[in-house]
Amino acid sequence: MSQPDSNLDLQEAENSLQSLSIAQEGDTPSLTINKQKVDILLKPTGNAPIMKKKKWTVDSDKPIGWIIEFMKKYLKIESQEKLFLYVNQTFAPSPDQTVRNLYDCYSTEGKLVLHYCKTHAWG
């Protein structure tokens, strides 16, 4: 599914974004499942810049805030600028919501589609 370089890119971004790894401290496996990866599809909307690579494979325990920081880095958006992510083109998930929860509830055909925008798009 993912191109060989995609995880590498993510890994790189992850290393440089350690300080932003909110909600990752609860990583200890007990009630939680082992590390899983899921496919996400990032679609621009409104005035948002286009990402050359749309489909990514990410650890399902990553919080949405981490994805947003990763995208800002990839799109070379200043960190103080806003980037909004939407599920189902309806609601913006909380930054500490995990990819796994969203995938379990809102994925279609094996991927979680997230629309992104630099201004409020829905609601």
Partner: protein, 264 residues
């Protein structure tokens, strides 16, 4: 729905007595400030009820931290302002240490950036709240009801919560709690199950494929298939495992339309 209206009111009126104490290390005055006592609604959020707390303590901290965002701590953990107060209490205070008032430490210095988010103003809380409400409606009615509401309805929900006005809030919220068309049930039950530092969410239907209505026990089994005897707490009580999910969703949801279940 809402034949059991008195239950909605009972849940709405749930309050917790809180004793706020300023971190003694942050006090620059000779005299330590008195603690500040407040009854806070379980269904509200701390940023909506702590203006007075900030005002009470601000003159005791150094002038360069006065402008800082105030944050709260319990049991050496910073409190997540975006969780409803009742959820924080039920998930952070373990039942062996339940003593009221709930003693919370107030800080102005050393905001724990990596553990909690900043909220610059009440609008941040409002947009978070509205996003949760819309998400819940996606689960219940494919988002049809919330998206067809007018801006004034959204405002009424928010103001009802912010000003602790039950009738104002429920006049609009009842539309979100109705089952649509010919259905007797929501499509899925909006819920979050709090474990450890985070929460789990999954698609759970209020009714089984056999047409039998599902219970809290079914939800917990679907979420934790390998664990027996999971106990869930909501609004400070442990509902019976045979409580039907549809009824729970209609009557025990928080104002954001989610059932916030704390695993204890």
């Amino acid at each position: 729905m809402a034949n059991d209206r008195e239950i909605l009111r009972e849940v709405w009126e749930g309050k917790l007595p809180v004793c706020f104490k300023l971190d003694p290390d942050e006090v620059v005055e000779l005299q330590q400030p008195d603690p500040f006592y407040l009854m806070v609604p379980r269904l509200s959020y701390f940023p909506l009820v702590t203006d007075k707390v900030r005002k009470h303590f601000i003159k005791y901290v150094s002038s360069d931290t006065q402008e800082h965002e105030m944050w709260l701590e319990y049991s050496a953990q910073p409190m997540k302002w975006h969780f409803p107060i009742g959820v924080l209490y039920d998930s952070m205070v373990d039942s062996d240490h339940e003593a009221l008032p709930w003693v919370i430490t107030v800080h102005f210095d050393k905001f724990p950036e990596t553990q909690i988010y900043r909220f610059s103003n009440k609008e941040t809380v409002e947009s978070y709240f509205m996003a949760c409400l819309k998400e819940a409606d996606v689960l219940k009615h494919r988002g049809q009801i919330a998206s067809n509401m007018q801006k004034k309805d959204h405002n009424q929900l928010w103001l009802g919560l912010q000003n602790d006005k039950f009738d104002q809030f429920w006049a609009v919220n009842r539309k979100l709690m109705e089952v649509s068309g010919e259905n007797d049930y929501f499509k899925y039950i909006p819920f979050r199950c709090y474990i450890e530092d985070g929460y789990r969410q999954k698609l759970v239907k209020p009714v089984g494929d056999d047409g039998k209505r599902k219970t809290l026990n079914d939800l917990l089994n679907e979420l934790f298939p390998d664990k027996d005897n999971v106990t869930a707490k909501i609004h400070g009580m442990i509902p019976p495992l045979e409580t039907p999910l549809q009824w729970m969703s209609e009557h025990l949801s928080y104002p954001d339309n989610f059932l916030h279940l704390c695993i204890v």
